[in-house]
């Protein structure tokens, strides 16, 4: 029996979702404030010259064209920017600036501190269906530097601190900004506590109210056909032009895997309600967002990397005690997770 198998055996069925080392656990979310005072981002044209600025620039470039890492750390056709609008700058689309200030996050149940770098590693493992870059590696430094630059520039402008964003060492960049020893201009440090900075308005995808009727993939399919299919394809396959998937695949072999946060119905519903369709030419109702989210995440996708052998039901009990379809079947269909696609495959 493997170590993790032993662990599972020991923990049995008493494990609660909150105890688990889920690298894409839900952050506590609030409803969006109508006139929230979101941090405003500096123009990317103001990224400084020099070695630090180059790291920030590389972070931006990897964020909008993550396919540069295909075959190495990325195993699907997605780019970070597909879920984090405006290159991670837009409020209520899980902006990088809010995330950066929410890590390192301490989890008291397992007495483990997750750094910002570990959070990004989780993104590669699950959302990108790939392999996490090594700790301290160039992509992680760059993505951390970009996130930090956005957060610090926004805070400085809000509190009237002029000048360039102070440079940080790679080691400090990778930790994240939620720590007492995070170096801040005095005006910012005085204005907010560490915990207040970690809960900036606009973080995450804001929670929408529970649906009036239980969410339904069948009703969601009608929403999908009417509003989503024209961009994301009849079978959620996305659309490539010149070999580049501009419109991201939502399920199937080229999308996020069963460990990604977006496979939860609530996370997908929150994201969709706030951010889709691109450009917001129409506003779905809360019910429609729940239903279409359920439809999208009730299809087979790449396997959860935490699966041991073929124990889908065990993994489901251990990691999937939330609003999702892993380990369940719809109607006469196969149990989802039993026919999943490969993790980190080479590009076809």
């Amino acid at each position: 029996m493997t170590l993790s198998g032993l662990l599972f055996f020991a923990l049995g069925n008493n494990v609660q979702a909150g105890d688990l080392p889920d690298k894409q656990a839900e952050l506590k979310l609030a409803a969006p404030a109508p006139d929230a005072d979101y941090l405003k981002m500096r123009s990317l044209a103001t990224i400084p010259e020099g070695a630090f600025g180059e790291k920030v620039r590389l972070g931006y470039q990897l964020f909008v064209n993550t396919q540069q890492l295909r075959g190495q750390y990325v195993g699907n056709e997605l780019n970070c920017v597909n879920c984090h609008m405006d290159a991670g700058r837009r409020a209520n689309a899980s902006p990088l600036w809010a995330a950066y200030l929410a890590y390192p996050a301490y989890r008291k149940k397992n007495d483990k501190v997750n750094s910002y770098q570990e959070r990004i590693q989780g993104c590669f493992t699950y959302s990108m269906n790939g392999k996490a870059p090594e700790s301290g590696s160039e992509p992680l430094v760059a993505l951390s530097a970009y996130s930090y630059w956005l957060a610090m520039g926004g805070l400085m402008d809000k509190y009237g601190v002029t000048g360039a964003v102070p440079e940080l060492s790679d080691a400090d960049l990778l930790k994240g900004g939620k720590r007492e020893d995070f170096v801040l201009p005095e005006a910012i440090a005085k204005a907010m506590t560490v915990d207040e900075r970690a809960k900036l308005p606009g973080r995450g995808f804001p929670a929408i109210p529970k649906p009036e009727q239980a969410y339904s993939p069948a009703r969601g399919e009608r929403v999908y056909r009417a509003h989503c299919q024209s961009c994301h394809g009849e079978n959620g396959e996305g659309l490539a032009m010149g070999g580049v998937y501009s419109l991201p695949p939502l399920w199937g072999p080229n999308s996020f895997n069963w460990g990604a946060g977006m496979h939860r119905v609530n996370t997908a519903a929150n994201f969709i309600y706030e951010n889709m369709p691109l450009g917001k030419s129409v506003q779905l109702s809360h019910q429609e967002a729940w239903d279409v989210a359920a439809f999208v995440v009730s299809h087979e996708r790449p396997q959860d990397p935490r699966l041991e052998g073929d124990k889908v039901m065990e993994l489901s009990k251990r990691y999937h005690q939330h609003q999702g379809y892993y380990g369940k079947s719809l109607g006469e269909g196969a149990v989802l997770g039993t026919q999943s696609y490969p993790i980190n495959p080479a590009k076809q």
């Binding site: 064209n65 405006d86 024209s230 032009m241 580049v244 501009s246």
Partner: protein
Amino acid sequence: MLIGVTALFLSSQAMAANEMPPAAALCGSCHGPTGMGIEPIAPRIAGLSSEYIAKQIHLFQQGDRQNPSMTPMAMTVQGEAINQVADYFAAQPVPAFIPVVRGSQTSYQSVAETLVYQGDWQRTLPACVSCHGPSGIGGGQFPRLAGQQASYLKTQLMAWQSGTRKGDIDNMMGNIASKLSQDEIAALADYFAKLK
């Protein structure tokens, strides 16, 4: 090996499609026999997807797109001929160039390039390339913008604004066009027209 097979497939497909179907002759009189367009009479239709061309013919027939010349012309193509015409012009070659992939630059000097590659999210304007593909090469229901005539791109964006062009899902393009200024429209039209 794989490349060879693909090339063979493409060339045999192109050979079949290169024979102009009778219904396309009338189209060719304004758009040119290979659909390269004649500015300012008719836009380039070579290299648009077959799906897009067929849909536009239907939209003209239904009145969701309005143009004094195209409305009666679209009526002359009916039934199976719609797909034949669409396939023929979709298969016509357009000058090749290497598209710019998003993120190759962090910031841009011009208003047009900023909108094309980054959008303006203060106005909830996504980057053009997020639907029209790298450098606006197009695909599926999204028309190719790269190399299209500036005058045509400009009149179309204005038609989306005024509502004389409709027919996409949820008025996505009408909504986006409505947020653009006249200067931005002119700059975008010039930018895409030069990509060839």
